[in-house]
């Protein structure tokens, strides 16, 4: 595997044209996560609407992997039920910890499958996970809970 195949078109596209970037109004929870080894930073804000669906915004600076991952995450979980969003987060975590051996499920992960190659580079896994860690932490701070169905997948 060469480096060009790690940087899938999808990743580059999200890096250059980030989706969902920016703050949201009245966030119920916010989390700032840094990767202390390289200085990547991402801040994720979350809230839920009257029907309990997630709304997510983020800001950040860092490498293509961390910033593209934030964009993919924001696009995928926006408007979802928190439990559904948590299932995606859990599947993404599994993918990143697979050492490149997992067959990602596009139905669950959507554009997230593009990060499969990243899992082969231990130094980059933290980059890809950073926004998802921030999402989980922001949800916890906002008091957003998931049902057991989502928790089981962790």
């Amino acid at each position: 595997m060469n480096v060009e195949s790690m940087y899938q078109e999808i990743i580059l596209d999200h890096y250059k044209n980030p989706r969902g970037r920016g703050a949201i109004s009245d966030p119920a929870g916010e989390s700032h996560q840094v990767n202390p080894t390289c200085g990547d930073e991402v801040t994720v804000q979350v809230t839920t609407d009257d029907s309990g669906h997630l709304h997510v915004g983020y800001e950040g600076q860092g490498c293509s992997i961390s910033q593209a991952s934030a964009s993919v995450m924001a696009e995928m979980v926006e408007g979802l039920d928190p439990t559904e969003a948590d299932a995606i987060r859990a599947a993404f975590l599994d993918l990143m910890h697979s050492k490149g051996a997992a067959e990602p499920d596009e139905d669950v992960l959507g554009d997230g499958i593009a990060f499969a190659g990243v899992a082969k580079y231990p130094a980059r896994i933290k980059c890809a996970l950073l926004p998802w860690m921030a999402l989980q932490d922001a949800e916890a701070k906002a008091g957003i809970t998931v049902t057991d169905e989502g928790a089981d997948r962790r």
């Binding site: 060469n2 480096v3 060009e4 790690m6 940087y7 580059l12 080894t37 390289c38 200085g39 990547d40 930073e41 600076q61 860092g62 490498c63 293509s64 992997i65 961390s66 580079y121 130094a123 980059r124 980059c127």
Partner: protein, 441 residues
């Protein structure tokens, strides 16, 4: 054990500037013969993080374990004697490498521990002074309003320990700023270091910017106000001839693994009178003189600072590294790196979209060169270089405040040593170009 490689290549004795025979040197470094990432030859440009080790160092360490491993400074048997000799011979060789006396060199775990040893002398003395002022040297006792002066280009190892000392004692941390070229703003020196200053601790060569600082002038100012002067020599001692006794410092810290030696060992040189006045840092076995149930007295320096079983094999390995470098000639090492640094600076400066973070001129600077590529994060640059077999460091290089000073989250850093040549720089430059093309920046 092969016969061929146990003597370091001798420097050429021809007239004019001596040069290193890089091809010959590279044969002493087995790791440089391996491939990485789909059979690419390894291009190692990360020696500022840690240097590779020649077979002479590996063999010295292995030979110690094979032939005379034992606990040092105790035991009545022959192996204990031989191990003790090996350890103390190593101390003499390493001290000699930096122009020092063996009695003035303390072995630690790494340079970070050496700097912590120095920092803890102040917080420990300050704590003891509160109830037993007669037991401590007043030079190490800090009070609220005292100041500690460092620079804005310190490695975290020479920054965070002093933040902790300030938090424990009420002393205030000050720092000499860095200008846009990556040089210290020394016009502030006489005002920053004033009558309140008790400690001045500065890096000799910046690990992120490559800047070589005029530590002699800074130490002179420190002594004018009666402060203890400390130099972090991690990046300078492996790369240029240095007599630690001529820097004007009271204490100098450096590590073995950046000068071809093994990991797990650092050094702290000190003026003997200063070491003698410092309270112990880690305590326990080996560092004592007498022990009773209610109190103990301590051995003289350097033993007072070497609690527990020491890192004998690492000392032996580092001594072999010092001998290897001496055989090459540190002036030849310096000249070689100066030439490589000039070449790398020129090639990087010629590149579109590349900004060097640190001095661009090849004066008073070492071979660690940080840069940023417009539109590209250093992690992505590093990934492309790695794909070509090029090992560089990306990130904040444990100098996060220095990155902030230059308004960058991180940099890519290439750093050379005795086994690199211009061809290595060329591969790196090609890798940066490829990353620029791929990302369309």
């Amino acid at each position: 054990m092969t016969q061929t490689s146990l003597v370091a290549p001798q420097r050429s004795e021809s007239s004019g500037p001596r040069t290193l025979d890089v091809e010959r040197i590279r044969r002493d470094f087995p790791i440089l013969g391996r491939t990485v990432r789909d059979e690419r030859p390894l291009v190692y440009l990360d020696s500022a993080a840690t240097s590779q080790k020649p077979v002479q160092v590996l063999e010295a360490e292995a030979e110690y374990y094979r032939s005379c491993n034992a606990a040092v400074h105790r035991g009545a048997h022959q192996l204990a004697e031989e191990a003790t000799d090996a350890y103390e011979d190593a101390r003499r060789a390493i001290a000699g490498f930096v122009g020092a006396s063996a009695d003035d060199v303390v072995f630690t775990k790494n340079a970070t521990e050496s700097l912590n040893l120095a920092a803890y002398a102040f917080s420990n003395a300050t704590a003891k002074a509160a109830h037993a002022p007669d037991t401590v040297d007043p030079r190490f006792v800090l009070r609220p309003g005292d100041s500690i002066v460092i620079t804005q280009m310190e490695h975290h190892a020479n920054l965070v320990p002093w933040q902790e000392v300030c938090a424990k004692t009420g002393a205030v941390l000050r720092w000499i700023g860095v200008d846009d070229d990556g040089r210290l703003e020394l016009d502030e020196l006489d005002t920053l270091i004033d009558s309140t200053t008790r400690v001045v601790s500065v890096v000799h060569q910046s690990n992120i910017l490559g800047t070589i600082n005029p530590v002699e002038a800074i130490m002179r100012r420190a002594h004018e106000v009666g402060a203890i002067g400390i130099v972090d020599g991690c990046q300078s001692i492996p790369h240029m001839p240095i007599d630690v006794t001529s820097l004007g410092a009271d204490l100098v810290a450096w590590s073995g693994h950046k000068m071809l030696g093994p990991t797990g060992i650092g050094m702290l040189w000190g003026r003997h009178e200063v070491l003698d006045a410092m309270p112990p840092f880690l305590t326990g076995g080996s560092m004592i003189e007498t022990v009773f149930m209610d109190h103990s007295t301590y051995a003289e320096a350097p033993k007072r600072f070497e609690a527990g079983t020491p890192m004998v094999a690492q000392a032996v390995g580092t001594a072999a590294a010092a001998r290897y470098l001496e055989a090459l000639g540190m002036d030849a090492v310096e000249a070689h790196e100066h030439r490589l640094t000039g070449y790398a600076l020129e090639r990087l400066d010629d590149m579109r979209g590349v900004r060097i973070i640190g001095p661009r001129d090849n004066m008073h600077r070492g071979s660690a060169i940080s840069f940023v590529v417009e539109g590209l994060h250093p992690h992505d640059v590093g990934q492309f270089l790695d794909d070509r077999g090029v090992a560089v460091r990306v990130g904040h290089h444990c100098a996060w405040p220095t990155c902030r000073r230059f308004g960058v989250p991180a940099t890519t850093r290439l750093s050379t040593y005795i086994y690199n040549d211009t061809a290595d720089i060329d591969v790196a430059i090609e890798g940066i170009r490829a990353a620029q093309e791929f990302f369309g920046v």
